[in-house]
């Protein structure tokens, strides 16, 4: 017996809609097995991971706080992936955006600068992320260098660069030698939406980005161009679409969004620049983009779901001593299942009896 894929005559509409749900269900089953192997009660563990964070308002707000960068980065990445451009260095662009925006916060710190500081920081952050993303994009269109590898290498470089800044020139002199900048002034801080909560204006910006992306993909020529270049490169060339320009465009936009997410994270929930500002948002956003089926609204929902796993993972570590790494395992498994379910939209799986063909032995 052997598993065989068979192309469907038409895309399966039912699976296309339900595929993320099937993937999540399969992941939950796999996770239950893993919990059991780790000697934890699967039902209790799943409850801590996925239900408890939804029951109190603090955790619900934390989910929105964590989803903010995830959704914003994933929207940008989805444009890349739709155009078949592989930016996987969003983590680096996130850090560079954080660094570029923080520069202004650091130099204006304590100078009594006006309320122009925060908007300028956000612009600098987006600009920094976009420029950093353009490095692999230019290397690709100008020299043909593989963007997957170059964009990923630049993550390590950005991480070390930020490390240098907060340990060296930008270190808070009053910070007891901790590697961190001084706490940002209030004019350099993203305001919270409700007093006493951590929910900040970045969540609103993210919702606006989601809407803009939905309009762009569904209603503009540029969005059409992105989808055609990705789905049918030959047709795109015939239509006169410039695929090189599109590589630069998608990289710049996704870099800008990742950079914006970076500076919002630093100027919002964190409040200063320090190592470890991201628990891998740039990589998790890749999963968010695929789980959301590269669709802006889908990404919003997927971002909230993966934020839930971060919060649930922290809760499970505290209350059930489940290692935090299990969240990564969960995310990896989820991405595999999402991709497999996407495949089932186009193919059906058949079990067939294997018979030996004459040429099979290649004698």
């Amino acid at each position: 017996m052997q598993l065989v894929l068979e192309r469907r005559a038409e895309r399966s509409a039912i699976i296309a809609i339900t595929s993320p749900l099937i993937a999540i269900a399969l992941t939950l089953v796999t996770m239950s097995v893993l919990f059991a192997i780790l000697g934890k009660n699967p039902i209790a563990a799943l409850n801590v991971y996925f239900v408890e964070p939804l029951t109190d308002s603090y955790s619900l707000q934390e989910i929105a706080v964590k989803a903010t960068p995830l959704v914003m980065i994933a929207i940008g990445l989805s444009l890349c992936y739709l155009a078949n451009v592989w930016n996987i260095g969003a983590e680096g662009q996130f850090l560079m955006g954080a660094v570029c925006g923080s520069w202004l916060a650091v130099v204006t710190n304590g100078t009594g600068a006006g309320s122009w500081v925060l908007p300028a920081m956000l612009i600098l952050g987006a600009l920094g992320g976009a420029l950093y993303a353009l490095i692999p994009a230019i290397c690709k269109v100008r020299f043909g260098a593989n963007e997957i590898l170059t964009s990923l290498m630049l993550v390590y470089v950005a991480d070390l660069f930020m490390d240098y800044l907060v340990r060296g020139p930008w270190r808070d002199p009053k910070g007891l030698n901790f590697p961190t900048t001084a706490e940002f002034d209030s004019v350099a801080t993203v305001p919270t939406l409700i007093d006493g909560s951590r929910l900040h204006a970045g969540a609103v910006i993210t919702c606006i980005v989601v809407m803009l992306a939905a309009v762009m993909l569904g209603r503009t020529i540029k969005g059409f161009e992105i989808r055609v270049v990705g789905a049918a490169p030959k047709a795109a060339r015939f239509a006169g679409f410039n695929s090189k320009q599109l590589v630069l465009f998608t990289f710049a936009v996704s870099g800008a969004l990742a950079g914006l997410a970076g500076i919002i994270e630093v100027a919002g929930p964190v409040g200063h620049l320090q190592p470890g500002i991201s628990p891998g948002y740039g990589f998790t956003a890749i999963i968010v983009a695929f789980l959301g089926r590269l669709n802006p609204v889908g990404i919003l929902i997927a971002g909230l779901f993966l934020a839930l796993t971060f919060i649930g993972g922290e809760g499970a570590q505290i209350s059930m001593k489940i290692p935090l790494d299990l969240t990564k395992v969960f995310q990896g498994i989820l991405l595999f299942y999402v991709l497999a379910c996407d495949s089932l939209i186009l193919y059906r799986v058949r079990l067939v009896k294997l018979y030996r063909k004459a040429a099979d032995g290649t004698a």
């Binding site: 170059t150 990564k328 969960f330 186009l346 099979d360």
Partner: protein, 306 residues
Amino acid sequence: MGLLEAIILSVIAASTPLLLAAAGELVVERSGMLNLGVEGMMIMGAACGFAGAWLTSSTFIGALCGIAAGAALSAVFALFTLGLAVNQVAAGLALTILGIGLSGLVGAGFVGEKISPAPNLYVPILTGLPFIGRILFGQDLLVYFSVGLVAAIWWFLYRTRAGLILRAIGDNHTSAHALGYPVLRIRTLAVLFGGACAGLGGAFLPLAYTPFFIPGMTAGRGWIALALVVFSSWLPGRLVGGAYLFGAVTILQLHAQGLGLGIPSQLMSSLPYIATVVVLVLISRARVTAGSAAPASLGLVFVPDR
């Protein structure tokens, strides 16, 4: 031991994991598959390799555990990309994330433990020779194995019928299938081989390079190994040179940090990554004029017609 001798010895040690992982990935890519999960397979190899060696006090069993871990992860990759025709780039990323997470689970109990490093070869008289003695005849066995492995891969790809078929499948899977070659089966074997090599490369780190396990200790070596395959233009011979070049960059920046030249240590630490980008650009630019050396079917989904 002179400084130069020490540097050469450490360059060889730093290059070996890259060479092992890249050699496996070269075979994978020659069959037309693109497994971007090398980093995940290496870190799993490192965690399981250390666990095996610590539990049994045997470097050999540790290495076997590393191989098994890498191969097991690559089997997951093969199941999804070959069995279910999933996008290889995305599946490779999933494998990396999964491997990093799993290695944290496996390795958590072993952080802070130490093992005795892999024994070095000792040949009477020869190992005692000044300068070249330690370099040529005093390495641990995995170093010799890595070079032998590359030679064996060269022989396999260019001197055997199976190697010819593997290359044919990588260059045109449709034609190879039409000729009756079992495309999916050969690709599965290639992916498993690549996973085993990556696992062994990862296991080399805690078994021979540093005798302990730290989460994330591969530090991007898997990605550098992927870049090395591009650098080598998919030719085994050039892989050795490339791996040793990158090992040299890694070690020289460490020594430069030790000298305290007043250059920020972070800048020196980022050199291997920056060098990877620069090398990729140079190699790719040269190829724009000379034509691509990549296997023509690399990374493309193949579903055989029935």
